[in-house]
């Protein structure tokens, strides 16, 4: 048996990976994916990428860290890292998460209970660097050595650590091997939060050193602040696109579909993840059908960021997070709506309803509601005529971590599914004990180099296992099956995973949102709203 990877391995000066996940024995999958030889091959990182980028960790790359030009630049980078480390523990710089971070630093018993709860660690066959404690252990040693300046006593008490550029670069990469689902924190008997450690490390790298995945920062939060949406859609473009969706959905449903824009005084400001408009237009179309049929007074906003609920700052940068959250609230304030309703996007729910809650004060403190509870109330009210037999196919429900474990919206979506899907079956475990889809914390939009392989084979493996187990009695391709994933990022991950493992092609397992299932059951709508086609 090989020795466990140790913290000190990350300080190695060679540019070799600490481990090679493409060679690791990954956790077995149930039938029909139970033959490892038949699974897609894990593509290797190119020699060019190995040469060009630093942070050799596990055979994949999320960050594209350039190799420093020499020892001087290395020293500068390490000094910046240590400066950022100090700021992470300063009241003025990190009041937002100082208390939970310090509690986690000072009270971990290193019992490894959290490791057993982590889907990444389990899927990677118990690879040590993916233990939630591994990156926390590094930060803890750094905290006691450099922030609390404990000297030799700190090394005796907490373990020693050598800070050099290889450690910093590998730690930066390692902060993007966790989905931030916080299942580990839920399992910790002491309440330590190693998911938070990932979050805080990402912040250090972004806020001090300007290091973040291009997909989250340049093409994510920065693009959203520049153009209005991380999709790049400007207000004019988004209105055009939604108008097109309205026409398309109108033809498909036989109903007149019109999305209202910038209606002052509407009851509801609906904010979608704009990715839905681009990738899954049937979802915003279904929202329009439901809200219009239910007689809801609603609108969308064409303000900057007001039509895109994403807030990638939640995953890596407090400043970016605050900027976007404020713009969402400002859009609602300008329109004088009674409440904001968030579309099917998990991290947008948690960002605006939970994490931003204490900073949105005064006239920015506008009630915020999940679309899942609004849908539940509409369905329960009888305002829609629904025929469950239209959804008479196997349906399972994926619980987006941000909606369920991290904000406690568990039952409304189930009440709907139990009412309109006769063959609804749960995954196990479910609800607040769920597993992440593998796309959480931004991974669903990250596919550089061979990161997609890692995301699907490792981070998404547990969820694929759950899906196969939920549909174990109906894998026959003659039976169409539906994963209800009421979250845009989760859908992105399911789209990639089902294609990667051939589960749509060979077993007719499709994915989609909750709104589509509701419209599919509406008797006023032409039958067949859900099209059993790959998208």
């Amino acid at each position: 048996m090989s020795r466990p990877t140790r913290v000190s391995d990350l300080s190695r000066r060679d540019r070799e990976e600490v481990t090679r996940i493409d060679k690791a024995p990954l956790a077995p999958l149930p039938p029909p994916l139970d033959d490892p030889a038949a699974l897609p091959a894990f593509s290797s990182l190119s020699d060019q990428a190995r040469e060009r980028y630093d942070g050799a960790l596990d055979g994949t790359i999320a960050l594209n860290l350039p190799v420093p030009s020499g020892p001087d630049e290395e020293r500068t980078l390490v000094a910046r890292f240590l400066a950022g480390l100090d700021k992470l523990f300063e009241r003025e710089n990190n009041w937002m998460f100082l208390e939970p971070l310090v509690l986690t630093m000072e009270h971990c018993a290193k019992c490894q209970t959290c490791s057993e709860a982590c889907h990444v660690f389990e899927a990677a066959g118990g690879e040590d660097i993916y233990r939630p404690t591994f990156r926390a252990e590094i930060l803890r040693r750094l905290y006691f050595k450099h922030v609390r300046t404990g000297g030799l006593l700190a090394a005796w008490h907490h373990g020693d650590i050598t800070v050099n550029w290889p450690l910093v670069a590998r730690l930066a990469e390692l902060s993007y091997r966790c989905n931030l689902c916080r299942r580990c924190a839920q399992a910790c008997p002491l309440g330590a939060d190693n998911g938070l450690v990932t979050h805080e490390l990402r912040k250090l790298f972004s806020q001090e050193m300007g290091i973040a995945p291009k997909e989250l920062h340049d093409n994510g939060s920065m693009l959203q602040l520049r153009a209005g949406s991380s999709t790049g859609m400007t207000p004019a473009v988004v209105r055009d696109n939604v108008e097109f969706i309205d026409e398309d959905i109108g033809e498909k449903t036989g109903l007149e579909v019109k999305t209202p824009w910038d209606v002052e005084g509407a009851d509801v400001l609906l904010v979608h993840n704009a990715g839905e408009i681009m990738a899954w237009p049937e979802n915003p179309g279904a929202f329009a059908v439901i809200l219009n049929a239910a007689g809801i007074s609603w609108t969308m906003s064409s303000e900057l960021a007001g039509y895109d609920s994403i807030n990638y700052g939640l995953w890596y940068d407090d400043a970016q997070f605050a900027r976007v959250a404020i713009r969402h609230a400002e859009a609602a304030r300008r329109l004088k709506v009674k409440k904001i309703v968030l579309g099917e996007c998990g991290h947008a729910h948690k960002a605006l309803m939970v994490v931003a809650d204490r900073v949105l004060s005064g006239d920015l403190d506008i009630p915020r509601e999940s679309c899942l509870t609004l849908f539940r109330d509409i369905v329960a009210s009888g305002r829609l005529k629904l025929d469950p037999s239209r959804n008479d196919f196997p349906v399972t429900l994926h619980d987006p971590c941000n909606v369920v474990r991290l904000m406690g919206v568990v039952e409304p979506q189930r009440e709907i599914l139990r009412a309109i899907c006769p063959q609804f079956r749960e995954m196990a475990p479910r609800g607040v004990d769920n597993y992440c889809c593998g796309g959480g914390s931004g991974f669903a939009i990250m596919s550089g180099h061979n990161f997609r392989d890692w995301r699907l084979q490792v981070a998404g493996r547990k969820k694929v296992e759950q899906v196969l187990e939920a549909f174990a009695d109906c894998l026959d391709p003659s039976i169409p099956k539906y994963i209800c994933a009421p979250c845009s990022n989760c859908k992105g991950q399911f789209r990639d995973a089902l294609e990667y493992f051939g589960l749509w092609r060979d077993h007719r397992i499709l994915y989609g949102g909750l709104a589509e299932l509701i419209v599919n059951a509406m008797t006023d709508v032409k039958p067949g709203f859900i099209e059993w086609e790959w998208h």
Partner: protein, 305 residues
């Protein structure tokens, strides 16, 4: 030796109390963080707490008072504190080692507290009477003996796990071994001391309370109590202070779904005046801008809104 032992007992108890309080005050004075709760939250309404739901499941949740369910919290906290229920659920193998250790410490602490209370009553001129004193002494001896056996066994079992389990060893610092070895040494030493000491344990406690050193303690008991006192003083200086930290990790983080109040709003307003110094260019923190300025700026528009 007896004088030194008595001094260390008082010093140890004093440091234990002061360091524990200081740690609690440090956490209590930390800035209010952004909400970061984890569900289930047991003070939610029982019908929601059962499945881990929050008030966000309710229609018009903002128009309703927040849930308060003290019984729900107690139903969670008591098994957690008394049985280490979380560890039992998530890591049964370790629980078999950790629970006896913690239960042993609880029993020893309970015996010490009872003896201390009885002794203080005596000193305060409220003697217990012979029968009550006998019962209390017997009960404390029983609790103490059980505590020593369980605590020592648990400490040795945990030490064995740290030494033999590669995944635990990889994350164990020298202090982790030392701490467990310390408990495995101190507990039986103190227990043996009480066996060798001719005076009943309640009388020993009364002497400690009175600082009556006229009759010397058995050297083994004096050594055991001295070391136990130093151990008590050491605990709150380490991560073993999780009896303090856990209150905050649960109540101030995991279950902190509290709605905003005026006091909290005022504190948030104060925090927004802080001036961050993060260096990445997109933060736009030049040392003069407050968090409010930073949040209101747009790095894609040269800092303008």
């Amino acid at each position: 030796m007896t004088v030194l032992s008595f001094l260390l007992i008082w010093l140890g108890l004093g440091v234990f109390a002061a360091a524990s309080v200081a740690r609690a005050v440090r956490y209590a004075r930390a800035p209010v963080h952004l909400r970061w709760e984890l569900y289930p939250v047991p003070h939610e309404a029982p019908e929601r707490a059962a499945h881990g739901g929050s008030r966000y499941e309710e229609p018009e949740w903002w128009a309703k008072p927040p849930s308060k369910n003290l019984l729900g919290e107690l139903a969670y906290m008591l098994p957690e504190m008394l049985l280490l229920a979380g560890l039992r659920q998530h890591n049964r193998r370790l629980w078999y080692r950790s629970y006896p250790f913690h239960l042993g410490l609880y029993l020893v602490a309970a015996a010490g507290a009872l003896l201390g209370t009885g002794a203080m009553l005596d000193v305060a001129g409220v003697p217990l009477g012979d029968r009550a004193a006998h019962v209390l002494t017997a009960a404390c001896d029983l609790l103490g003996a059980a505590g020593v056996v369980l605590g020592t066994g648990g400490a040795l079992a945990l030490l064995h796990a740290r030494l033999t389990d590669a995944k635990l060893a990889a994350y164990s610092a020298p202090a982790d071994y030392f701490n467990l070895a310390l408990f495995a040494g101190v507990l039986p030493l103190a227990g043996l001391g009480f066996l060798l000491e001719p005076a009943p344990s309640l009388l020993v406690a009364a002497r400690v309370v009175r600082f009556d050193t006229a009759a010397p303690l058995h050297p083994v008991l004096a050594s055991g109590l001295a070391l136990a006192s130093l151990t008590a003083a050491y605990i709150p200086l380490t991560h073993m202070s999780h009896f303090v930290g856990k209150w905050f990790t649960y109540h101030n983080v995991r279950w902190d779904d509290g709605p905003d109040g005026e006091r909290l709003r005022a504190r948030m307003a104060e925090y927004l005046t802080y001036r961050p110094t993060w260096s990445a260019p997109h933060i736009l923190a030049d040392g003069t801008r407050s968090w409010r300025d930073v949040a209101g700026s747009n790095p894609t528009r040269g800092g303008e809104r």
